[in-house]
Amino acid sequence: MKTKMLVCFALLIACGFGLFVFADDHEEEEMNKLVFSKETYKIMKVNNGGKISGVVKFEGEVPEKKKLAINKDPAVCGVVDKFDESLVVGENMALKNTIVYLMDVKQGKDFDKDAKVELDQKECRFNPHVQIIPVGTALTVLNNDKATHNVHIFGTSKNGTSINKQQTRNRKRMKLAAAKGPEGPVEVKCDIHGWMKAWVAYVPHPYFAVTNEKGEFTLEDVPPGDYKLGYWHEVCGNNNKEPVVVTVAAGGEVKQDFTLKIKK
């Protein structure tokens, strides 16, 4: 009786184990996506949190700035020169538009509810080029052009982020449905003006930053603890496989710089 039960038991465990092995996926690493914790993020008050900051730099030969060919609506779109923004390197090799974030934070502060989540279309250019959007928040798309655009987001239907909506020149603002879950970064395009490109990431917690012209980022009010610090860049890829581990002390500040190369 007892042995039977044990065999049964062992079998069941084996089955269970077999089932869980399936769940393993490497998709994010391959596809240049961010890593999101499977656990639900808990919001709490953060007192005396720490700060993580740093500078992201580019290493390698900086390609010449590529001027975009404006083959459509020149009166509206061709007034100022536009350049490819997939790799923007500033003074001292500062790398703009890199997302730096905590991969495994489980609890912490809430999003800044007053922050505007807007994507601007002006002179046929998306601004900003890389943007983070809290899950559950509707993105407002502005049209400051006397031209018709279409906002095409390459997300998924299950997340409500597969979107391609026309925004005619008479519609100054347009809200897009909020994401149901974390995803991205995904591409944003205006097909009517094929050069208009941007990226959005739908994120589950506020510990995400996008580097500025000087390559700087700051994550504030981080609850003390050890974290995996990740980055993502459009052409330099990510560090999903080997994130940097940082230790944040109460009220302390951690400096962490990154140097990125073009992904082969």
């Binding site: 083959n71 239907s157 026309q166 519609r171 009517i192 003006h193």
Partner: protein, 565 residues
Amino acid sequence: MRTSIFVLSIIIFLLFSVISISYAQDAPEVSEQGKEVYEESCAHCHGVEGRGDGSAAENLLPRPRDFTRGLYKIRSTESGQLPTDKDLFDIITIGMPGSSMPGWETSLSADDRWEVVSYIKTFYEGFKENETPPKQISLDGKIPYSEESVEIGKFFYTQFACFECHGNAGRGDGTSAPTLQDEWGFKSWPANLTENWNFRGGSSTEDIYKRFIGGIAGSAMPMFEDASFGLSVEQAQRYAQLENKVEMTDAEDEEFNQLDENMGNAYDILDMMTEGIANDEQKQKHAEAMKVFQEKSWHIANYVKSLAPEKRPEPAIGKNVLRSQYTVDTLPTIDDAVWDTLEASYFPLVGQIIVEPRQFNPTIDSVNVKSFYNDTEVAFLFIWDDRTNNTEEQETEDFGKTFVDAIAIQFPVKVPQDPTAPKPYFLWGGKKAVYLWQWKASAVNSVTELTAKGITNAEIQEVQGDIQAESKYTDGQYRLWVKRALKTDDKKDLQIEQGVFVPIAFSVWDGANGDIDTKRVISSWYSFVLEPVPSSRRFIYPPLVALLSLGILVGLRGFVQRRNT
């Protein structure tokens, strides 16, 4: 002790059962039958894992669908939603015209098709996570087809900016057309709305309506939320009228601002609906604006429907054979209105896939031809749609490598007197030579005479005869006018006689689609004939018929008048 182990095992057993069951529910229900059908009939295009990367995929454009992203073009459901099972079943049954996706109505049983539907759904987990059924597009408020509706639809076609991609005349030649791609980064062309038999999802007014209300997922084609939300048809027309005015009076200015404000408010409410924060009054307003939006959309659908003939034209064989019409006058030039009196003969084209390099993804549907002749000459008007006007070979980052657009019209050198006698090989001849007129967009007003004995064996005739040519490119359409003497002195030329059926065939190159040399679209042999000079009887009958009907009318009128008094 024993009991506690027993209880523990039971608990663990239950726990695992629950886990297994919940896993089983999440797990795609793999239909064995569906899998079998899929792997036998679909996998060589769509890939064993549904990634659209089967062995045949590489040569195809559009590519076979990658099922792992859950993006479906032809849906009865709203934008951003998955298709219904019925949508998938229908598309598998009918296929997707204008692409390489075949219909399976005759080669798979209905049961097999349903099973394969559930199998392809397992490639995208979004299907199982969706507990709520996808939202259907409402087809309420359909406006019947009428000239008036078409006219209003034309206005909104411009307002909604469909022309940016589909062009002013709807031939898919909009200024955005050359740069469009699908979400997988492959070139994609906007549909030619005047050839609706090539629509992927059907050509009925309802089909058209669903496509632009719901968008075509994965493609550049967006969904629409009006261009003047909250304004009625008349108000929208007035708004556009005022907007285009160079100078407005104070009253007009005020009127314009009022309309603009109304529109802005309606859009604000629409945004609140998107966010789910509208109150009842706003919901009411939104519902009203939606009604008007639907009305405008039905007008557009009617307009798009009006752009194409009711049916795909019949190919130019049998009773549709190309008949050159006799005229005593000098032959009409390219812009002469008399061409409009003739019905064009329709010559369908297919990709050339016999000789390398091949064209598996043709972009040109057909050539349409009209012809007149007189006692000494014959004139042809060749008409074909091409989304771009490529006049020189180019390589740009945006468009890749493009070549020169061209057409070649092919005749045998010796016309077989008996229509059943063998003709030269249809691909530019073989042992029997063919005679060709070749025209290129790089030299718009000239045609070159060639002789060929095979598709790669053509030479320019040393003596070029006296052939006049003129061509025009407007709104995504080429018109080429060619005039030649019926008879020439050159033995290598075609000699045309009245009443004899002359074989004719075509090759067309779309430079933007990579067409060059053997990569092109072609037709097989058709024929044309100089319609015999009409006998004088023809001119007697019509006046007679007219006189007779007039008599009947007069009689009828008298009859009605008498009855009324």
